[in-house]
């Protein structure tokens, strides 16, 4: 039983990181039907910015938690700028092109950003300071769930609630929903669709950057390539939950994280990816639109 709890905990932690990244995929897909393959790289860049910022702040004598929050904020701002620019130079010019063109452009941006960081920083792994302090009250159950894991779970829960509120109750949220339903109609009633799309990229990038900072301080190392695998997994989670559907992405991410953790714990960690993608195949056979996705008839 304790073993099951331990595995569930590590699965939930992994799942909530996937969720933070998956939300960006699903929001962008929901609005412009584009799979933004460069999204994983935004997550990686967020982690790098946080590493640089925390290095600087440590020199200035800041400590633990304040560094984490400041680093996350600055990383989020930077990542937002990257997301915004990405959309502006790589996707907006191709808005009316055939759907494959922005997809290729996305893959190109992903490779570009990876190699940019590879050249500008280093191909080696870099140590990431453990910014999340050990809380005393977590010590009795540290072997099941540590402080870092608690912070990850709480942060991603708060972030997701904030996102839900933003989309349900604010003007920009309403505009986003309108654009998602029908871009032309939204434009006709006076929604600035270009701004809404930019906003979507910005929000997605902020979420990814938060994920990057959390992962960095949780596992203690980053390199230019971490975005690739995380991006693939998060994309899988988004598809699992029904791509374009926001609660679906979160649910899909948690299912994926738990499936990987149970597979590693009860079968073999050598095959955790096999199980993760096995779950994906199974769900897509049973529910082709994903867990929460609605089957949409193709407009002809």
């Amino acid at each position: 039983m304790q073993y099951f709890l331990e595995l569930s905990c590590s699965g939930l932690v992994r799942g909530s990181i996937y969720a933070l990244i998956a939300l960006g995929y699903t929001m962008v897909y929901g609005i412009i039907q584009l799979i933004n393959f460069a999204h994983g790289e935004v997550y990686m860049i967020g982690a790098f910015i946080a590493l640089i910022v925390s290095g600087v702040l440590t020199i200035y004598g800041f400590s633990g938690f304040s560094i984490l929050i400041l680093a996350a904020l600055i990383a989020a701002v930077y990542a937002a700028a990257y997301g915004y620019t990405l959309e502006k130079i790589a996707y907006r010019p191709l808005r009316n092109a055939p759907r494959l063109s922005p997809l290729i452009s996305a893959i190109g941006m992903s490779l570009f950003l990876q190699n940019y960081v590879l050249l500008a920083q280093t191909p080696d792994f870099l140590p990431f300071p453990s910014l999340i302090p050990d809380f005393d009250f977590m010590e009795p159950i540290a072997h099941i769930m540590g402080s870092a894991e608690l912070v990850i779970l709480v942060t991603s829960a708060i972030t997701m609630i904030a996102l839900t509120v933003l989309i349900k109750y604010t003007r920009i949220g309403k505009a986003m929903r309108a654009t998602q339903q029908d871009m032309t109609m939204a434009r006709l009633v006076g929604v600035n669709v270009d701004n809404v799309i930019s906003m979507t990229f910005v929000i997605g990038s902020v979420l990814a950057a938060i994920g990057g900072v959390l992962v960095g301080s949780y596992i203690g190392q980053i390199n230019f390539y971490i975005g690739f695998m995380a991006g693939v997994k998060a994309f899988t989670a988004a598809v699992l939950g029904g791509i374009g559907n926001i609660p679906g992405a979160a649910l899909g991410a948690l299912v994926l994280g738990l499936a990987e953790s149970y597979a590693a714990g009860y079968v073999s960690s050598a095959y955790e990816d096999v199980f993760a993608f096995g779950v994906l195949v199974l769900i897509l056979i049973l529910r082709p639109a994903g867990l929460l996705g609605k089957a949409v008839k193709q407009k002809v």
Binding site: Y3, E6, L7, C9, S10, G11, V13, R14, I17, D124, F125, L126, P127, S130, A142, H143, G146, A148, V215, Y218, I219, G220, Q221, N223, Y225, I226, M229, A230, K233, E260, S261, A264, G265, S268, S269, A270, E272, D273
Partner: protein, 373 residues
């Protein structure tokens, strides 16, 4: 380009048939040096050739061995088994008394049968393939380098004997290097019978975290972890073991014994064990050999220089002790008499592996790897 290379090779082959004839007249001790002296693997063969030639020149200047001059016969095998058999046949026909070589395991294996039939001893500085000695097929084979499985054996014995662990978890990264090490470690733990392997599992390099595996190690009640792989995964594992409050010894191969691991794992690295090649640069013999080399060639010696130097030293010692080049006497001398070489004080065990060379266990103490004596 290619044609001219072939032409040159043919000429070299022809010349090498002509030149040694003059050597037959004098009463000398003939030592063959076989290995890659041309081609892309030449950097592995040349340092041994230079080491042997250096010692030979030195000994000849001092009057030779048992009153005889040493004649060195280099023979190129390019690390290719088919060329190695030719090289071996040629050396045998030139009447060599002993061979230093070959360098690559595959080439060595191909040549050894020929030397064995001719009752010629071969001492390799670098062929690490375990069956070369362990199969017992080549009683004429010796080496001054530790075999591939030595590291796994050392880790297994260290964990079972020195640390006294009873239940051992073996984790690897599914790669050739990591899984190879893990396989050998498992094999030797099971053969030793003192401890049990409770978990043998691969992890995916680059996975987000390894906390599920760490929990599994705890569930199996392991009291030590042996890890096969490189430093990124190792640092992730030790960091997460610490986060999960698991305080059991962690032993890795030489893939983690470096600054990369210390830097990334940081404070979590403290107390971690790693096996790695013994530090021989502090030995007097080694210092002298390297200084001589730098004086003669004006650069630092290359790969397998120490081992090649040691191979020639043990060969000469054996000839001195045996009082000649008789096969049985040489064999007895190699296996019984210790000699101070550039890789330490060694003699050979009954299978032909050098005792006293190879790997030691290191531990991270105060942010540095320290050799455990």
């Amino acid at each position: 380009m290619r044609k001219s290379v072939i032409k040159k090779l043919v000429m070299v082959a022809l010349l090498s048939l002509v030149v040694p004839v003059t050597g037959f007249a004098a009463d000398t001790i003939k030592i063959g040096i076989a290995g890659p002296h041309t081609g892309d693997l030449a950097p592995y063969g040349i340092p041994t050739k230079e080491a042997v030639e250096m010692i030979a020149a030195e000994v000849n200047a001092a009057g030779g061995v048992l009153g005889k001059q040493i004649e060195v016969l280099p023979m190129d095998d390019q690390c290719k088994p088919e060329i190695a058999t030719n090289a071996a046949t040629k050396l045998v026909s030139q009447g060599v008394n002993l061979v230093i070589g070959h360098v690559c395991s595959g080439a060595t294996k191909a040549a050894l049968g020929i030397y064995n039939e001719a009752k010629i001893i071969a001492i390799s500085p670098s062929a690490t393939n375990p069956p070369l000695t362990q199969s017992g097929e080549y009683p004429n084979f010796y080496r001054t380098i530790a075999p591939d499985d030595d590291q796994g054996k050392l880790a297994a014995n260290f964990v079972a004997d020195k640390l006294g662990a009873k239940k051992i978890a073996i984790i690897h990264d599914k790669g050739d290097y990591g899984k190879g090490f893990a396989d050998f470690a498992q094999q030797f733990i099971e053969a030793g019978g003192k401890a049990k392997v409770v978990l043998f599992e691969g992890v995916t390099p680059g996975a987000m975290d390894y906390s599920a595996v760490v929990q599994k190690i705890r569930k199996e009640g392991a009291d030590a972890v042996i890890f096969g792989g490189y430093h990124p995964e190792a640092s992730k594992l030790v960091a997460q073991m610490n986060k999960k409050r698991m305080k059991i010894p962690f032993v890795g191969p030489d893939g983690i014994k470096g600054d990369g691991f210390l830097e990334i794992a940081g404070a979590d690295a403290e107390g971690v064990y790693a096996t790695g090649p013994m530090d021989v640069t502090s030995l007097d013999v080694n210092k002298k050999a390297r200084a001589d080399y730098v004086k003669k060639y004006g650069k630092e010696p290359g790969t397998f220089f120490d081992q090649g130097y040691a191979a020639m030293q043990s060969a000469l010692n054996a000839i001195k002790v045996a009082g000649g080049t008789d096969y049985a006497a040489l064999e007895k001398a190699l296996k019984s008499s210790y000699v101070d070489t550039a890789v330490g004080k060694i003699k050979f065990d009954k299978k032909g592996d050098a005792e006293g060379v190879g790997f030691s266990v290191f531990q991270v103490k105060g942010g540095k790897f320290v050799e455990l004596k």
